[in-house]
Symmetry: C2
Subunit: 624 residues, 2 copies
């Protein structure tokens, strides 16, 4: 324990694992970064953001109350914003950093551990202004927003409605007398709920509301709304705003509620790119493509796929390194305790996670390129591929968030009791990623959307329609099978993209890189075949004999991948600040770090807690 503070050497088992690795780790890192130059650029940005120490917390964040967590996150958000503004986006020779920049994601994750209350400012407020405002409106808000003179978020979901946007209850009624919209929350269920940073941080907000003009409702539209005074930060009259309280994760962010009491905003605070209300109250649709407003939603879904793949990479890095350090049990009496990574059951749990992190990252890169193509076409007015792309992004979002959450939890459970420690970072990664399964489109709802695009279940549905059911009822009664069919479709898409991308990306790789990356691809395909033996036997020509052979091949693959396991997670190239884990650090000094972190618990500041004198001692003496 006296060693806590000194620079720790690498754990001997982990060092041996690295000697065993037979492929070039750097080469694999470059492949997933998108080339050697990208790796160099990323590392440069990581150095700038993380070498300054602004990300350090006085006490571990998980020892704080939610209010303190929030205040600490505001402090760090302001430091981080300045670093990005002054030192990163001004870097020479660096390509412009998009909102989906892996380098920024990595540094932000290391900085905040959890999330920044400013996240939706750059993540939703700015992109929505870019996407749904006229050029004049962009001139009005964008410079201030980019310069952080105004800080905003996005408020769509209400207490009573999330999935069904058409059911939102907040109203924006146009008053031609004053040329203003009157925002109103007619019911408790119409209160906005969830907006990140909405509770205490932002002064502006994009509000989605039912537009009424000339007595007619034109459905949901977006409005830019100032909700707090820029000098005093007090909520403006007619605004009821606050924090929604603690959540499973995201507790550094003040997700908020927002209600309007006949709150007035100028007419031109309506985002007018796709539809307008003229001074006299006439409603004019500018574009024919109502679907264009889904752009932000699709953008966020595409980002989420890479986000969850990245978090899965963190979890499996932690779990694999810990499994190389941890020794437990005896196989034969008297033998030394093996590394738990040597158990095939552990390999079965972890190697699929490495493969999935690869599969999802490559799928997300592919998705990103495809989406860029869709955006380019949209600019020329061609939105033909948008519906198809929307369906694809829906199911990929559903499957990737659900698989990542499940596999992160599998990594945590594979670390036994120590995985339950907050200092392992695994519980946080799960609580963070499981949220993505729900927001921006619930798992089941998205898969049902995908199913609408598919025809595989038609026979099932047809039987019900033929027996006299309406199509809607038949659809509803087939829901369980439709979700399963959509899931199977999406897995097939991921398998195909993963396989093709690995072939393409390793075309000129060194032989051992090619071998190990292909082993992981095979593992992924076999794993899902073995998870779905019932489907294979029912709907394919695969036989029972094939399955026995497949199981054997799968188990052989685990053994082949085993010596390269630590090398493979090292190739994710995640700095200790990003992993933020006692179990996963590069040096593998697991037990020293667990103890060092425990000693930071505020309960350890004093040998005897005050509650002993106040309650326990009187109880022991029968005097309470």
């Amino acid at each position: 324990m006296s060693e806590n503070k000194r620079n720790l050497e690498v754990n001997v088992d982990l060092a041996k694992e690295r000697l065993k690795c037979n492929f070039s780790i750097k080469e694999v890192t470059n492949i997933f970064d998108g080339g050697e130059e990208k790796t160099i650029e990323r590392k440069k940005i990581e150095d700038i953001a993380l070498n300054n120490g602004g990300w350090r917390d006085d006490i571990p964040e998980e020892c704080m109350a939610p209010k303190e967590k929030y205040e600490n996150a505001i402090r760090k958000s302001c430091i981080y914003s300045n670093i990005v503004k002054d030192k990163i986006i001004t870097l020479d020779g660096i390509e412009s950093l998009g909102l989906n920049s892996p380098a920024l994601r990595r540094t932000a994750d290391a900085f905040f551990k959890d999330m920044s209350p400013f996240l939706l400012h750059m993540g939703m407020f700015v992109p929505t202004i870019m996407g749904q405002c006229t050029p004049e409106q962009q001139m009005r808000w964008l410079p201030k927003a980019l310069n952080l003179q105004i800080i905003g978020t996005y408020a769509q979901t209400e207490l009573g409605h999330g999935t069904f946007i058409r059911g939102l209850e907040t109203t924006a009624t146009y008053d031609p007398e004053t040329e203003e919209f009157v925002l109103h929350s007619p019911t408790l269920t119409s209160y906005k709920w969830w907006g990140g940073g909405l509770g205490k941080t932002v002064n502006h907000c994009i509000v989605v509301a039912q537009l009424y003009t000339k007595g007619e409702c034109h459905g949901v539209h977006t409005f830019v709304v100032q909700i707090r005074d820029l000098e005093t930060h007090m909520p403006l009259p007619g605004i009821k705003v606050g924090d929604i309280g603690p959540k499973m994760g995201f507790n550094t962010v003040d997700n908020g509620f927002l209600g309007f009491n006949e709150y007035r905003i100028p007419r031109d605070n309506m985002m007018m790119k796709n539809a307008q209300v003229l001074k006299d109250g006439t409603y004019v649709k500018v574009t024919r493509h109502g679907k264009l407003t889904y752009g932000t939603m699709v953008f966020v879904r595409v980002m989420l796929v890479s986000e969850v793949a990245f978090n899965l990479a963190k979890a499996v890095t932690i779990a694999v390194r810990y499994s190389a350090v941890r020794r437990q049990c005896e196989r034969k009496p008297g033998d030394p305790e093996p590394q738990i990574l040597d158990y095939i059951t552990q390999q079965h749990k972890l190697f699929i996670c490495i493969a999935t992190a690869h599969a999802l990252q490559l799928t997300s890169d592919w998705l990103w390129r495809s989406f860029s193509a869709v955006l380019a076409k949209m600019k020329t007015g061609n939105t033909d591929t948008l519906p198809e792309f929307h369906a694809l992004s829906s199911c990929l979002k559903a499957i990737s968030t659900s698989d990542s959450a499940a596999y992160i939890e599998q990594c945590r459970l594979a670390c036994g009791g120590h995985g339950y420690m907050m200092s392992s970072n695994l519980p946080f990664l799960y609580s963070f990623v499981t949220a993505t399964r729900t927001y921006e489109g619930d798992y089941t709802v998205l898969l049902l959307q995908t199913a609408r695009k598919l025809s595989t279940c038609v026979a099932s549905i047809r039987r019900r329609v033929d027996s006299g059911m309406s199509f809607e009822d038949a659809w509803e009664h087939s829901g369980v099978q439709l979700v399963q069919a959509a899931e199977a479709h999406c897995r097939a898409v991921i398998c195909e993209i993963y396989y093709k991308e690995i072939v393409r990306l390793t075309a000129s790789s060194s032989p051992n890189v090619k071998i190990v990356l292909n082993q992981l691809t095979s593992l992924y395909l076999m794993h899902w075949a073995l998870e779905r033996t019932g489907d294979l036997l029912r709907y394919s020509s695969v036989s029972e004999v094939d399955l026995v052979a497949l199981q054997q091949k799968y188990e052989e693959l685990l053994l082949l991948i085993r010596p390269n396991a630590v090398g493979l997670v090292d190739a994710f190239d995640l700095r200790d600040e990003i992993l933020n884990s006692t179990l996963g650090s590069y040096d593998g000094q697991v037990y020293e770090r667990l103890m060092a972190e425990a000693l930071k618990s505020p309960l350890n500041e004093e040998p005897v807690n005050q509650s002993f004198h106040k309650y326990v001692k009187p109880l022991m003496h029968g005097k309470l």
Copy 2:
């Protein structure tokens, strides 16, 4: 929002659901309580414990820092201990309350929301003294322990060893000169880790250590060790003790670490029922049955099965009630938004949870009766059935904790975004129950133990042995399939017990109770058949045609159960204090409660948080 404080009426949709219910809720409650008298007794105890208000927190516990949570839990533990001691165990006409008393579990859950730091005192310290001490030793410690004059816990797991008890490193070396044992922690990894209440609360501790005497190691034995001064509560010289820091759950409990520096205890602090060290250092085994020391472990596992079943009942009560209140989407344009409980995908997610809560509770009751029989036999020296029972309790513990955690999470996800709110209580229930998958025997390890008892995989293993592998290696390489086989075996056991117990318990029930409970049993059997279609096609005579019919039957069952869904969860008879959920309360006033709870967030105490003036405003003005 002005209605937050007044007594809320029952939500109209929920009231309608209760009118739809066609069976006697009270009758079902009585069945699962074990008879009408048991229900009356339980409600009486709930009234005594919960009507006093001592369980109330000043601010919601999830708004506190871990240290405050701990101090608050100590306050409540002391109040609760007094209530139990003075008002509950003294009740006239009440059967003695065992440690597995459902009434005490319910009231404790309502009282603590999370856990009491005293939990392991009554849960492990006292039972281990009862089980492993001589009568003289029991006289020495039991009266004080039962009277809370000393408070203890159980310290077995170390930083470096959990599963493999033989690998524990803490030593207890007998010194015949002074007739003392010298406890020592030779390495960092030998520090005790996890003991509940160990960090700050307890003054005594049962320590599991390697016993050395006359230069020989006799394996792990248990010792009663005082670690803190009874008056000052200061750790005694030679003791290093503290809190291990925040965890995924159990944050009201000070799980602790403990290290010894040549710490001396009297010889007769060794628990001497099963083995003794004489004054001169001679080691004497008193019983031939080394397995007897596993008694406490089996006892805890049996308790855990009912514990997780109970928590699953809470989760599904919350999710079903919320699903009856929540309305979302349109099926046909213009139709009113349906209750989400009307979606077959939602029924598919939730009804299996009701069935599983029943199945596990009945299995646990059955297990409890069987275990009592084993204990009775053990008293006569007959331990023949202990190994078999140990194996069975292992796999039932593994499957029930794993299924319960997965289904609780399914309930949470079925509640969409609101399920992510801490105030729903669903995140807490998950973090609490998922821990049970790991402690007192890891899922995979326990199933591998079960597999050793099974012969179904013999052919698989034999192939490997025949090809020249050692048995140990063949066993290891077959790990993945062995776990699957053990899981299948255990599911078959649960299905059988569930089915038989329902037949037995509903023999004299009214017709509709019989029908609905049998529908759930059928649902459970069909659900698992459909989850394992691959196994059925490969290893049984079930055909593809059968599976199509089964799927259809399953979907029909969901529709049949639908009108009784709210009645079924009402029958768990869980008071609002026990559910502790904005989404699950009996009145279904979901949105009012969500808002009322949000307003309690300390961030809402002031309109502008201090961090605005300190950081955000300077940032906005470019002056940070």
